[in-house]
Structures are given as C-alpha cells and as structure tokens.
Amino acid sequence: MAILGGATGAAPPAPPVKAMRRASVARRIAAAGWAHESRIWKIGGWVAASVPLGSLVFILVVLGHKAWPSVVVNGTHFFTGSAWKPGSTYGTTVHTHGFAHPAGSSYGAWPLIAGTLQTSIIAVVLAVPISLGAAFALTERLPGWLSRPLAFAVEILAGIPSVIIGLWGVLTLGPFLAQDVYPVIADHMPDVPVLSYFRNPVGHGEGLLTTGLVLGLMIIPIITATTRDLFLQVPPLPKEGGLALGMTDAEVARRVTLPWVRSGIIGATVLGLGRALGETMAVAMISGAALNTISPNIFGTMGTIAAAIVTQLDSSFTDGTGFATSALAEAAVVLVAITILANALARVVIARSARHGMPVGRGG
C-alpha cells in the first residue's frame, strides 16, 4: 500500500467515508441476516434436501410423458416381446389407439431387460467376494505403508472414466479372453445342465461374460472402498476378544467383523448394483450391443437397456412419428424402476437383518 502510494507519488487518499458507511450498512444487513441464520439454514436445507425427490419426479414425469404412446401401443408386449422392431421408418405411417407409428413397428424389450439383469448379477456375484477379500487385505492383513497406496489404487480404479475402461475392454481384455481364457473354460465344461451354459461357441470377446467381468471391475472399487471404511469402524475390542478366545483371523472375520457391518455391505452392494444396471458407455462398447438377442450361452453377444438407449437414441430421431423415441423413453422408465426396486429390496433386507441379527457373532 505504502509502496504503491510512493511509486505513483500521489497524496494519500482521503478516508473513504462513503465506503465506510456502506460497509457498516452491509454489516448491519449481515448482522440481521445472521440473526435469522438458524432459519436460513433450515429453509435452505429443506429446499436442497427436496432437490433429489424433485429431480426424481421430474425425470419420471418427462420420461413418462414421452413414453406414453409406447406404453399404450406396445402394452405388455413391451415386457414379453423379444424383438425391437423400429418398423419401416421410410414406409407408411399407421395409427394404433390414436398414436401414429411406422408400419411394422413394435417394441419388445425383454432381451434388454434380461441382459441388464444378467450382466448386473454376474458383476455383483463376482464383485462382492472379491471386494470383501480386498477390503480384508487392506484393513487387516497388510501393513499401513503398503495398504495405504493400495487403497489409493482402488480409489483410482473407481475414478477411471467408463469410456476408458470400455476402450480397454474392447481392445485389450476382450480379445485376450476370447483367445486365451474362454476356449479353455468352454472346452472343459461337461455337457450337463447349468454348466453347459459355459460351453462353446466362445464368440469373439464381446458379450455377456466380458460385460459382466468389466462391470464387476467397475463396481469393485465402490464396494471395496465402502467395505474398507466399514471395517475400520468396527471397534477393536470385539475382534481382540475373539482372538483372545483362540479364534483364527478367518473366524474373527466371519463371526465378528462381517456380522458387525452386514447392513453396510448390503448398502454398498446395492450402490454397486445400481452402477452396474445403469452403466452405459463401457457396455455399449463390449456387450455387442445387440437389441434382439438373449445370449444362448455365457459368451454370446447381448444388450442392456442403458446401452440400447445410447446406441439407438440417435436413429430413433429418424422416426418422424416419434414412436422410436417413445419406446426408448419407456425403456428408460423400466430401467429407473429396476433401480428403485433394487433399492427397496435392499431396504427390506437391511431392515430384516437389523431385526434378526445381533451385531456380534451369533454363536454356532
């Protein structure tokens, strides 16, 4: 300040009376504001906390409005039909129940619904045990100097954008699995029920199992990170008690640590499941993005609702009647409904386990 004044050689400015008065006014307003601070917090909190509910309603209203023609015209066929038929978009337009749509168009989303559930189930089945094991290794087995950077590596995996994982899946992982891993599995599977699902043909690395694996990889960090935090919150006393009674580490893990955090793990699993159900870009790249195919074995190409939305949204706009976009909107509503159902189911399970279970080792 002084140096600046000296450099310009100007006389020191008169005290800014006006500005000072303004400042005091501002301070008074602020003071008045702070006096109502509790109320401001409360109102702001109410508004902000209503945003998720409001957004959810908005999403469902917009999609529902768009989906209505498809809901009316396709009816239950949408859930049972297995052909996604845009019809002849360059042919004639017909009317059903008052809604215009291209001749021959009818939408059955069963393969997409099935594919969404199949890939997500594979992902969760793979990810939960791996995540639990990794979280145990990070919290119980490894020294801090090693577990901290490794925990960070898990966080990085969570942060890798899904396009990049998709790119890796389609260019590196898929071909590797199709050439070196899948044939070994497929050739050694006996032709008995269930296991025959793992028999040839193995395809070309794009399909159900590759998608499930990559989705699993994407949700592992979510479940691992949450589980790790949960494990760290388990107080040491019960664990030490278990060890003092002569339990092995494995027994302490099974009888003390896991029951302690069970509901948290269910929550983390549902979070991961939600991500797997809705993952879009990576699935569009590695599933084969088929619309009408339920894979006959675990290696075949298939599609999911989310991938269908991103791959078909553009061409749906070439349907001048808007019916194709309407069908995609209905698919989106179904997808949101599935995630809501998964959430509700988790709530029920958590409530159950909270009612039944003692937190610490239930004996036996």
Binding site: A83, W84, K85, P86, G87, S88, T89, Y90, G91, T92, T93, A100, P102, G104, V170, L171, P175, P201, G203, H204, G205, E206, A284, M285, G288, A289, A290, L291, N292, T293, P296, T301, G303, A307, T311, Q312, L313, D314, S315, S316, F317, T318, D319, G320, T321, G322, A324
Partner: protein, 389 residues
C-alpha cells in the same frame, strides 16, 4: 487446523480465479491469431472468391455470425475440414461442428437447436410430414465398401445382394459356400465361418447397406427386414454388432472371417489393417469395384432422376459400369430461420460447400474419399439453399 484448511481454500480460490483469467486471456489471443493469419495465407484463394461463373454458384458474403452444425458422423470429418477453410475466408463467421449421428442432426435442425444438421439419409415421409419446412440439400457423394478379413485371399471377392442378405440372415454361414464359390471362380475361399458385422448404433451406413439388400432381393430382405438407419437384424449365431465405422474396422481386424460394411472414408484404415474389400454386383448384373469412375458412372445416371428436393436413393442403378452403393450426403436445414442474417450466413456456408472450386473441390473431398456433386445437382442444391430465409 481450521486456519490451515481455510488457507487451502483461499489458495484454491485464487488458483481458480487465475485459471479463469488464463482462459479468457488465451481465448482472446487465439481468436485474434485465427483472424490475422488467414488474410496473408489465403490471398490466392480469395481471388477464386465470391463468384464462380462456370457453375453459377454465388457464394454470398456472410454477415458476422456464430453457427452450429451437428449430425452424421460420416460427414463430421468433412465438416471438420470445411469449417476451418471457410472461416479462413470469412473470419466473421464461426462454425461449430459436432458428430452426434444423422438422427440427431435431423431432430436438432427441426427444433432449431442447431443451424445446420447433417445426415447420410434423406428425410422420411413421416419426418417430412412432421417438419414440412425442413430441406435435405445434397452436399457431396459418399460410397460404401464391403470389407472382409480372409488371410491369404488377395483377390477382390465378389458379392451380390442376394448372397449378402443370406449371410446377414444366417443362411450362408461359411466362406466356401457353393453360392459364393459359384460367383468367385478362381478364388480359393477358405472353409471358415462367416462372421457378419453390423452397426450397433443407428447409422446412415446401415440405411444404404440395407437399402442395397432390399433392392436386390425385394421379396427377401426387402419384405422381411426392409431398410432404415436401424433395422431388426435377423438373429445370427456369432454375428457381432459394432459401434461406429471405426468399430466395424477394428472389429473386423480382430475377427478372422468377418464381413463388414464400411464408409469409404475408412478405406485406408481398412486396408491398413490387412483387410480387403469386395466387388459388388450392380443393377445390371456386373461386378464392380468402388473406383472413382464407377462411382461417377452411377452418380451420373441418377443425376437426371434427382428431384428438386434432393430426395432419392442412388442404390443399385442399372448402369453397366456403376458401383451400386453410393449416396448423397445431406445438409438438413429449416427454411424458416430466426433472423435474416443467420439465414444469410447459413446460405453462404452451404453455397461455399457445394461450389466445385471451394468445398466440393478434390482438395477437401479426397481427404475423406468423397465424390463431388454433378453440376446439375449443384444447381438444384443452389435452388434449395435459396429457400432458406
């Protein structure tokens, strides 16, 4: 602790402010650089400038404007070459390009979300009905090749619509199928399974490929599947769906025995990956390679038939030497623009794009292996462009 945290936040705030300032700074410097360089570098180009008497296209001098283009991913590379060249000549106009897909190009042009949409496919009847003020203006000609991955086969394998339809229907499943051998005498076709690839995303390439299949087998594919930017592909064991033209090329590269339809812009990549492309049977029963003379033969035949609206399929023409899968690439523009100056700027860009000396010169088109518009079609496009008000 609290103080330290606050210090961090203050530092972060300053950092952010600095970033914004840097952003503004660089924005202003680059824009001036872009404005100053072209004058010196394109003095020769400006002499070919505003009029071209030979084709009768007048490129209007545009007012200052900022325009957006979105749509076809096949046209996107060309727009990316056109936009900087046009802006060099008319720095008062700024054109933003994006490749979102033809369908979005059409719907965004219809709603006024963008100024120019681009599409590989012309507007359908229902689209015309929904948006009567939309024009589809031919800008250039694109070609589709049929690529395949057959190690050891160095000849161009011949295909026709009937055989391709049966492959995509799962009725022909191996490369040494008698039907394929019959039309490929002298070529040793291996006994490996055929893996048909199709696009998973909606696409103008699918539109013209399925149109070829429909026209060559009207009672087969033309009745069962029909054509469109996205069709209900028959379920074929082992068939693969790929994202984008690039996905078709990479997918075919890693899959021995594949067959794929690919836009000609990707030809060099296709060949670079050790794949090859086939001869196609045209409407007069001859097998033809996608050479530039075969493409212009086909284009010239359809020139006379092209209506004023530009809406026509160039597939499967009866010319003996014509290559059967070519198409017009379209600009989709609303005739009723929000302001006269926007309309003028749009007209200027499109006029520049279709002029043989400017946008339609080989200098730009050859980079994406497109073919220029025939003069008569240029004249028709000019008339369509003049309707933009």
């Amino acid at each position: 602790m609290a103080r330290n945290i606050r210090g961090t936040w203050i530092a972060a705030a300053f950092l952010a402010a600095g970033l914004v300032a840097a952003a503004c700074g660089s924005a202003s410097t680059t824009s001036t650089a872009a404005k100053s360089t072209p004058k010196s570098s394109t003095s020769s180009a400006s002499s070919t400038a505003s009029t071209s008497s030979s084709t009768g296209v007048t490129v209007e001098t545009p007012p200052g404007a900022s325009l957006t283009e979105t749509g076809s991913t096949l046209l996107y590379p060309l727009w990316n070459i056109w936009a900087p060249a046009y802006e060099q000549k008319y720095p008062q106009v700024h054109l933003t390009t994006a490749g979102t897909g033809s369908g979005t190009g059409i719907s965004d042009a219809a709603t006024g979300t963008v100024d120019i949409g681009s599409s590989d496919a012309y507007l359908s009847t229902s689209q015309k009905a929904a948006h009567p003020t939309l024009l589809n203006i031919p800008l250039g000609i694109s070609v589709q090749v049929i690529g395949y991955n057959l190690p050891g086969v160095t000849a161009h394998v011949k295909f026709n619509g009937k055989i391709l339809a049966q492959i995509y229907e799962g009725k022909i499943t191996t490369w040494n199928d008698p039907a394929l051998k019959a039309i490929n005498p002298g070529v040793t076709l291996p006994s490996i399974p055929i893996v048909p690839l199709h696009r998973s995303d909606g696409s103008g390439d699918t539109f013209i490929f399925t149109q070829y299949l429909s026209k060559q087998t009207p009672s087969g594919w033309g009745t069962n599947v029909k054509f469109g930017t996205s069709v209900t592909w028959p379920s074929v064991s082992g068939a693969l769906a790929e994202q984008g033209n690039g996905g078709m090329v990479t997918g075919c590269k890693k899959t021995t025995g594949c067959i794929a339809y690919v836009g000609i812009s990707y030809l060099s990549q296709l060949l670079g990956d050790g794949l090859y492309y086939g001869e196609l049977m045209n409407g007069s029963g001859n097998y033809v390679l996608p050479t530039s003379s075969a493409v212009s033969a086909e284009a010239n035949y359809f020139t006379a038939k092209t209506p004023a609206s530009g809406t026509i399929s160039l597939i499967n023409g009866p010319v003996p030497t014509g290559y059967p899968i070519i198409n017009y690439e379209y600009a989709i523009v609303n005739t009723q623009q929000s302001s006269a100056s926007t309309a003028k700027a749009i007209r200027s860009i499109l006029e520049w794009a279709i002029t043989p000396q400017n946008g339609n010169s080989n200098k730009y088109l050859s980079q994406v292996s497109f073919q220029p518009l025939p003069p008569k079609v240029v004249a028709q496009s000019v008339k369509q462009i003049a309707q933009i008000k």
